[in-house]
Amino acid sequence: MIANFIYFVALLFSTSAFGIGLSIVVWRRQTEKIWSTSFAALCVAASLWTAGYGAEIVASTLEGKLFWAKVQYIGIVMAPVAWYFFSLYFTNRRYALFKLNYLYFLIVPFITLFLVWFNGRFQLIWTSTTMTTHTPLPLLAVEYGWWFWVHSAYSYLLMVLGTGTIALSIFLTPSTHRRQNILLMVAALMPWSGNLLYLSRATQLDFSPVGFVGSGLMVSWAIFRLQLFDLIPIGRKAVIDHMADAFMVLDLEERIVDVNPAARKIFGGQRPLIGEQFTDVINHRRVNALLRRQRLARTEIALGSGAQLKTYDLIISPLFTQWHRFHGELLVFRDVTIERLAKDELEKRVERRTAELAAANQKLLQRAQELEEMDRLKSLFLATMSHELRTPLNSILGFTELILDQYVGPVTTEMETELQTIYRNGEHLLSLINDILDMAKIEAGQLLLETEPVNVNALIIDVLYSLKPLAEQKSISFLTQFNEEALYVVADQNRLRQIMINVVGNALKFSEKGEIVMVTAVDKEHATIIVKDHGVGIPKDQIGQIFDAFYRVDDELHRKARGTGLGLPISKRLVELQQGDIWAESSGIPGEGATFFIRLPILSKVEQVG
């Protein structure tokens, strides 16, 4: 039996030593000071308790035993308080302490300690103290005073609260932490199961300090194997505490039950915020509606006003218990004011740019309409000009012809000569009007060409046929030399005829005899019509100017046959409008004549086949 006592005492001392060691280890880890302090305090308390108890058993005198019993009490009063604080810190229910000055928790322990040490005078802890004789070693036997029961009740209350807090967190925390918490619970239950046995007098020895051995072992296993005190819960907490995003947990009644420092700073003005109604802190219709939906949601909200206007990206996540019951909501606010401003600025810029583009577009449209209107007016002007000039000419030419044809009476030879002069000049005026209108149409871009494949060879024959009477008057003959029957160019048939009549007409005009030779030649992309006469030719120094408007070769030979001065310029423009070219060559020696070249794009072989 005595051996058992010795083992028990040895156990007590080793427990004590273990507790001290554990407190040092935890203290040095210092991952979070407040709760590691409370855990270290718990360890120290247990050490004092067990060491004191061991010494009490070993002490042989009543005075000695009483002294160690009193030493034990330092640990006994500390343990429940340290346990409760530890449970609160560990399960992150610190906010409960903000409302209670935790010094109050120490009132009962201090009174108890005072009464223990001065029990001789007050006798409120022990009413009698004796030594047992029926045990292998003499033990301290006491009768308890009423304060002892007060203190016991207080201690049990704190133990229950602490254990309850941890038990509660088992159901509320994610499963990754549950193992640690269950371990803690078991550890917490061990000391007081021993104590209950002792108080119920089932054993002579108080096993409650021994319970701490189990507790200590389990906790230390948790420390080293499950990393109870750091990494997971603490790591998470540290992240949340240091994150710039505001973090809030609401309970079922939408009361704030947890916040991180960022949230306090942003929404609380350093107020704790814990326990406040969420809508008293942030009252936002959309957020309230989202909270009521109790679903995962993300939204952007603007809070504050003026320079304090902030935009937050808010994520609301519902929290569920392990039995999938809705239990509250987690809110994370990320300040996206800068991003929002940048986005707004960008949108504004896009808007402005769009408006500018629309305005520019409008202007262009207006300008296009103006140009269209100008075009319309130009067309109208040309049409009106043509009509208004032709109408009086109709009378001039018509009546002259009428008189010449003797509708109004006999005409003398002299009269006839002068009437012919009027008629000739009228005709010249008509040519001028036609040429000027053509020129004006070309210059105004009003001339529309209808290009199609045209057989040049056939066209030349046709033109020569219509000019034959003029040629016969001057005894000039036409010669044609074609390599093929049909040579197709891409041109406006009527305009090409006009050009041909002009060029061949000039050849006739400036020749007195001989022949006019028409040749067509073809290369890869072009057909060239060559018109060669044997007339007066063109002085070499003026050959470059004959295509200028109203330019006339001014010499005796040319003056006899004046045109409008617009025939070649119009021809040149018309040829160019048909992607062609026109030029002239002449030695300038009268009788050697001039050669005109008209080059036009041919229909490609493929197109001809097609």
């Binding site: 067309s379 049409a383 043509s386 009378s395 018509g398 509708y407």
Partner: protein, 122 residues
């Protein structure tokens, strides 16, 4: 050389009208003239001409409209258009109404007479 044919000329320019009057009466055609489109339509009804010479620019309704109304009232009446408008003249529109003869001002008398003979056969 007596023609039994009646020709109606619808033209608002008095000089041009007089010119044609001279030529046609000189050729012994029975000649009527109207200065407006509406008047022309009335004259066509009243005199039942064998041929209408029609100007396009008229003070009230234009020549195209006169042509259309004449086609309704006198489907087989030959029409020769005489116009100074060589730019905006709507050849396709006129051809659609079955009018194939268009003379431009300034007129050549011989050409006019040839065309008239061609159209009415006398």
């Amino acid at each position: 050389m007596t023609h039994t044919h009646t020709i109606l000329y619808i033209e608002d320019n008095p000089d041009n009208m007089r010119l044609i009057q001279h030529v046609l009466t000189g050729q012994n055609y029975t000649f009527y003239h109207a200065e407006t489109g509406t008047e022309g339509l009335e004259m066509a009804k009243a005199h039942q001409p064998h041929l209408v010479l029609l100007d396009i620019h008229l003070p009230d309704i234009d020549g195209y409209e006169v042509m259309r109304l004449l086609r309704e009232s006198h489907p087989n009446l030959p029409i020769i258009v005489i116009t100074a408008d060589v730019i905006q003249f709507d050849h396709a529109h006129v051809a659609q109404m079955g009018v194939r003869h268009v003379l431009t001002k300034p007129l050549r008398i011989k050409e006019l007479l040839q065309t008239i003979k061609l159209v009415i056969g006398a």
